[in-house]
């Protein structure tokens, strides 16, 4: 036990003392932060677009159009740049000119840079026709912002033609049916509105997918760390000295434990950051809402739920970690390991691909079947746990994963020893022989 601890400690310190570790520690939060904020920044960093209106429709809709444009005027604030700015018609254009003349002049005006976009409204046999001219790179932006208003103008025009009162037409246009999605559990709970209720309704799914992703990332990263660590020891010829000092079990378990501690450190620091951020969020929220959200979040994770998540994570970590460590014992470079790692990475990618669909429909039969496959279980079951599951599914998947983990440990132990003492090339055949005990020890 003492040897296992020493090996685990060395493994842990060897990793956390590197600059790379601290860089990688901040990489995931940085990637997540960037993926959220960069698109927002990009969207809002667009320059203010000047828009002129040329109403040739004869319906006198210039005022309504101007209102629609003004509704998208730039707002002050860090993320609220961009938007539309209404400008007077450039010289050479007027509301009484024929549409053909306007069409002939507009491209040159846009090209001269006097204005970024010009909306030309005409009547095309009783149907409003909007031609929105823009400079290169701006095409479609104005349309995206005001198309609802433009369609509205046509809607009201049609209503007026059929003698429908404007206010009635307005009500018809704005009218929506009430649609509520229910489950027996949510129907039984007292109905409330607001953020806390949304957390209670959808939090389980969000939490499920978040935990699935974290499990996947943690297991994949740990496996790669273990692989790299063993390859380094094999390449530097330390492995044989270690095997002459400690049992294969101590060595393997120590390494797996050491890397698990690395991942725990990472997870702990991330959790601490998340806690600090959410505490700040709660502090700026109205106190009633923050209490409700806190209660809803804590209700999502019961001790039993946490225990199951840990069990699935542990099983997955052992299955893949031990396997990758054993592979490393055969290799002196990452390239040597590619023949085996490639197919295993594909296996690891499959549950990743299903997560998006699983998020919206966690009860799909296909997902249910896949979660019974032990190599997918640790990634898909946390997702499925967001909904109530029959006990036999939980017990069955845990048992399947446990059996495979034990087989992996058994095979991994033999493979690790065989790999550490040989210089042979790693193949699936060699692994199979080791698994079936045909390889000489």
């Amino acid at each position: 036990m003492n040897k296992t601890f020493l090996i685990a400690r060395r493994e842990y310190l060897a990793f956390v003392r590197t600059v790379g570790f601290w860089l990688s520690l901040f990489t995931l939060p940085l990637i997540i932060g960037c993926s959220i904020f960069i698109p927002i920044l990009m969207r809002h960093s667009a320059p203010v677009e000047t828009v002129a209106i040329l109403d040739l429709s004869g319906d006198h809709i210039e005022g309504t159009l101007a209102e629609a444009v003004r509704a998208h005027a730039p707002k002050p604030g860090m993320f609220d740049n961009g938007g539309l700015k209404l400008v007077p018609l450039p010289a050479g254009l007027s509301a009484d000119m024929p549409p053909e003349d306007a069409e002939a002049k507009v491209p040159n005006i846009i090209g001269s840079g006097q204005v970024a976009s010009i909306i030309v409204a005409t009547d095309n046999g009783g149907r409003l026709h909007f031609r929105i001219w823009s400079s290169d790179g701006h095409k479609g932006r104005v349309e995206n912002l005001i198309q609802w208003d433009l369609h509205g103008l046509q809607y009201y025009k049609l209503a007026e033609r059929h003698g429908i009162d404007h206010s009635l037409a307005h009500d018809m246009r704005e009218s929506r049916a009430d649609i509520v999605s229910l489950t027996p559990a949510s129907a039984a709970a007292p109905k409330k509105d607001g953020v806390a209720e949304r957390v209670r309704e959808n939090g389980g799914r969000f939490l499920g997918i978040a935990i699935s992703y974290i499990t996947w990332i943690s297991i994949f990263s740990s496996s790669m760390i273990l692989l790299g660590s063993v390859i380094e020891e094999k390449a530097s010829k330390v492995l044989e000295v270690l095997l002459a000092s400690a049992s294969t079990e101590s060595l393997l378990v120590g390494k797996v434990l050491g890397v698990a501690c690395v991942m725990l450190t990472v997870s702990g620091l991330w959790a601490l950051t998340a806690f600090a951020l959410s505490s700040y969020g709660f502090a700026v929220m109205p106190s009633g809402t923050s209490h409700e959200i806190a209660a809803a979040v804590s209700g999502l994770l019961s001790p039993g739920h946490i225990a199951l998540l840990l069990a699935y994570f542990t099983g997955g970590y052992l299955m893949f970690g031990v396997f990758f460590a054993a592979i490393g014992a055969f290799c002196e470079t990452q390239k040597d390991a590619q023949a085996i790692i490639g197919p295993m990475t594909i296996v690891l990618m499959i549950p990743m691909m299903t997560m998006q669909v699983a998020f919206t429909s966690p009860d799909l039969p296909m997902l249910q079947y896949m979660s019974w496959f032990p190599l997918f279980t640790p990634f898909l079951m946390p997702l499925r746990l967001a909904q109530p599951l029959p006990w036999y599914e939980i017990a069955g998947t845990l048992a399947g994963m446990g059996v495979v983990a034990l087989i992996m440990i058994g095979v991994g132990r033999r493979a690790f020893r065989a790999g550490a003492l040989t210089g042979g090339k790693l193949t699936w055949g060699a692994l199979f022989r080791i698994a079936t005990r045909q390889a000489a020890n």
């Binding site: 003492n2 040897k3 020493l6 090996i7 060395r10 060897a14 020891e233 390449a235 530097s236 010829k237 330390v238 044989e240 000295v241 270690l242 095997l243 002459a244 000092s245 400690a246 020893r417 003492l421 000489a440 020890n441």
Partner: protein, 307 residues
């Protein structure tokens, strides 16, 4: 206490149809220096791994320090043929870590490690990363790692390979000192000079089989003695002399004379051959009877000279 540090009884190792070691038996007494000799591929490393329990025996039994192989690892110091250490760790940290795996407490390991590093002149490099050390320094650190837990048995697999003559001499001194302190040393090598200078006992391995076990004198006795003759001689005349089975012309010695190296048949003496040469009036101007070196004995015993 058992007076044998190491005991191999009918040990074999097979990989499928290939037999790496066959029916190997020998013993090493406590406090002895045993040379485990053999050409490359003779099965030395495989045998060493079996002694350490790293590799299972296909047949036979190995006892190390009175226990089955692999069960007394904490009392053994081992330096493998392919040496290496954690390149990003400092020498002292590596020594403390490896000593810890052998059951030495951190404080004691640190104290002993420092003292041994100082003794080897490595004090200034104690806290530098191993990758910044020269190859010779790294090898010294490796040796210290192997000895820091004060093992009763030290197994060194090809310890002299890659060392310069000064470090080879240093290592020989270390081995002698260990034996003087009562530590048993077994080292494998295919360079006979080291064994010749260090060992009381040698075990010779060829193609996985033991071809000799015993003292250096006994090993030498297994090889033919030599009689070097200088004079105006020819091979045909020399082969008629009693006991001479081969005569090799080693080159001219001036004034029409040549140096001939004659191999004597086992059981015959140089005296008989010389006497006969003088009686027949052969032109012998100088002669020298020579004991075979361990290297020559090694070639004869392993049959390498005939391959």
């Amino acid at each position: 206490m058992v007076d044998r540090a190491l005991s191999l009884m009918g040990v074999s190792k097979r990989y499928g149809d290939f037999s790496a070691v066959s029916d190997l038996s020998f013993e090493v007494k406590r406090g002895a220096i045993c040379g485990f000799l053999g050409p490359n591929g003779a099965g030395k490393t495989t045998s060493v791994r079996m002694m350490l329990g790293l590799s299972e025996v296909s047949a036979g039994r190995i006892d190390v320090l009175g226990r089955p192989a692999g069960q007394a690892l904490d009392r053994i110091g081992f330096m493998p043929e392919e040496r290496g250490l954690y390149r990003k760790m400092t020498p002292l940290d590596v020594i403390v870590f490896l000593a810890g795996l052998k059951g030495v407490k951190t404080a004691a390991a640190r104290r002993r490690g420092k003292a041994m590093l100082e003794a080897q002149g490595l004090e200034p490099f104690m806290n530098k990363q191993i990758r910044s050390l020269s190859k010779g320094m790294s090898q010294k650190v490796q040796l210290i790692s192997c000895l820091v837990h004060e093992p009763e048995l030290v197994i060194l697999d090809e310890p002299f390979s890659g060392l310069d003559p000064v470090n080879q001499q240093g290592l020989e001194t270390v081995i002698r000192d260990l034996a003087r302190q009562g530590t048993t040393v077994l080292f494998s090598t295919h360079v006979m000079q080291h064994a010749e200078r260090l060992c009381e006992q040698v075990v010779l391995l060829a193609k996985g089989r033991k071809v000799f076990e015993g003292t250096l004198q006994a090993a030498r006795a297994a090889a033919p003695r030599h009689l070097d003759l200088e004079g105006a001689l020819n091979e045909a005349d020399l082969l008629t002399l009693p006991g001479i089975v081969a005569a090799v012309d080693m080159g001219e010695a001036g004034d029409g004379a040549h140096v001939w190296q004659c191999h004597l048949k086992k059981g015959h003496t140089a005296h008989e051959a010389l006497k006969a040469a003088f009686l027949r009036g052969l032109d012998v101007r100088r002669f020298e009877a020579r004991e075979p070196s361990l290297h020559e004995a090694f070639i004869v015993l392993t049959g390498a000279g005939h391959e």
